[in-house]
Amino acid sequence: MSMVQFLFYLMSFIALASALFVAATKNLVRSIFMFFITLLALAGLYVLAMADFVAITQVVIYVGGILVLILFAFMLSGKENLNYISEQQNKFISIGKLPAILLAVLFLIVLVNVAINIHPDSLPWIQKSVAYKNYIQPDAAMTENIGVNLMTRYLLPFEAISILLMIALVGAAHLSRKEAKP
């Protein structure tokens, strides 16, 4: 087994195991901190896929931003809410979970089906890329590529997302505003 394969299986194992822990544990704070390990393992997988920019962005946005916000929300919420969550009865299979189980099983079927039928080595576009040596080298600088593509080919989605974020910002500013004195 080559080093890359070994690292891939190691990272995948860490990601899956920590994700299971996040879902299963009753200690909410620990599950949030465990989520941090899941995210770092995912970043490692991105690096293995030579998407280093995505990996670092993942760490900046999820670990530095979203995870800290989740922790804030957790630490600022009242004790009753948290007790209610941890005292919930936890049967593995119950009627309330039926839609979730159905969805999960259907997704699993789709994924397994794709994995069996796709034959990645014989896809025409992959064969074409291999023939023209059109693939990313480990030392390639991809940031320029991402920037140019965002500003040309994917300009419309990019602008749409920025408008969405702007709306969210304005909304947040409006909500946190003090009421004007009557």
Partner: protein
């Protein structure tokens, strides 16, 4: 297999460096504070008290590791490690001289920005794990402060990157001296590609970066929780903030992280604004001062001098200015620094289009 061994040696060397730096940083801090407050500082242990911090660390290593009974033991135990490792990871990409960097990533700057944000998580972990009101308050304050000040710091970094057109710290360094492969101009009009020296530094290549440098420096003080931004550990209100409950080796790690962070942010400031490992001496006609003083060994010397000078300024500020109040801190960040950083970024764009 050989290069793996090299990696390990480099990593251990960097760890040793940060430990020694913390040791003498604490000593320097005590002497500087003593000078500013007209005292003597440590004098007893060793010549001029120079062995004081060595004695301190020996004492700290022998201390008992006390874990509070009500603490979340796992989180409490792991937090100092995570805080230190987050800072230590940043050392991996710092450039020390021409061709001398532990890892010359082409996303180096972004990488540092990313790993430093992990530190917040370690601080929150320490605060929550201690199960102490002072700790949790300190941790919350610290996280809020670091997240807020990351924004002006980020925009300051972006305005440099727009001028430099690269995220690779080695490329950014090489651009600021006689080793540049492109034409560099002092303030946009005087070609200094072969003069080098202080005129080729980023702050003088585009003068608005002077303001950006000040913004970055202030934000970096806040990110390393140094006075006047040390409300996370305001000893008059919170005992010691998030590390109230830590003793012995764990406390030593928190301290090590703080001093490594000071060095790291100063070094980033030097790389981005003050010419990295380039010499401050320009070529004047036949007197080729810049050419004579550029090289691997000179590079290490220059970057170390500049970084230590910035660390000295951090200490000077700490012992001169009083602490901010929380609301002043947030107002300053959101109403002064962030808009100014935005304007600097805008100027960077215009500068790039019209003057470079």
């Amino acid at each position: 297999m050989n290069f793996y061994i090299t990696y390990f040696i480099v990593a251990i060397g960097l760890f040793g460096f940060s430990a020694i730096f913390a040791l003498f940083g604490v000593y320097a801090e005590r002497k500087v504070s003593a000078f500013i407050q007209d005292r003597l500082g440590p004098t007893e242990t060793g010549k001029f008290g120079s062995l004081q911090t060595v004695a301190d660390i020996l004492k700290m290593l022998q201390k008992e590791l006390i874990t509070p009974a009500a603490a979340d033991k796992l989180l409490f135990m792991m937090a100092p490690g995570i805080i230190f490792i987050a800072v230590y990871l940043g050392f991996a990409v710092l450039p020390w001289g021409p061709g001398l960097a532990p890892s010359s990533l082409n996303l180096g700057l972004y990488y540092i920005f990313a790993v430093l944000s992990i530190e917040t998580l370690g601080i929150l972990m320490a605060g929550w794990g201690s199960n102490n009101k002072f700790s949790i308050l300190g941790a919350m304050r610290s996280a809020a402060q670091i997240i807020s000040y990351e924004i002006p710091a980020g925009f300051a970094i972006i305005s440099v990157v727009m001028i430099a057109q690269s995220l690779n710290l080695q490329v950014i360094s090489a651009q600021q001296g006689i080793m540049a492969s492109e034409k560099i101009t002092f303030a946009g009009f005087w070609d200094v590609s072969h003069v080098g020296g202080i005129f080729a530094w980023n702050v003088f290549r585009a003068p608005h970066l002077l303001i950006t440098f000040v913004i970055y420096f202030i934000a970096s003080l806040a990110e390393s929780n140094r006075a006047p931004f040390d409300i996370p550990e305001a000893e008059s209100e919170l005992v010691a903030g998030f590390h109230t409950e830590y003793t012995g080796l764990r406390f030593a790690f928190v301290f090590l992280a703080e001093y490594s962070m000071m060095f790291l942010v100063s070094m980033i400031a030097v790389v981005l604004f003050l010419g990295a490992w380039n010499t401050p001496l320009p070529n004047i006609g036949a007197v080729q001062l810049a050419t004579w003083t550029t090289g691997a060994v000179w590079g290490i010397l220059w970057i170390a001098i500049k970084t230590l000078a910035l660390v000295g300024v951090q200490m000077w500020i700490r012992w001169t200015l009083p602490r901010f109040r929380v609301d002043q801190l947030m107002n300053f960040c959101w109403k002064v620094l962030t808009p100014t950083a935005f304007v600097c970024m805008l100027i960077s764009g215009l500068w790039r289009i019209f003057l470079m």
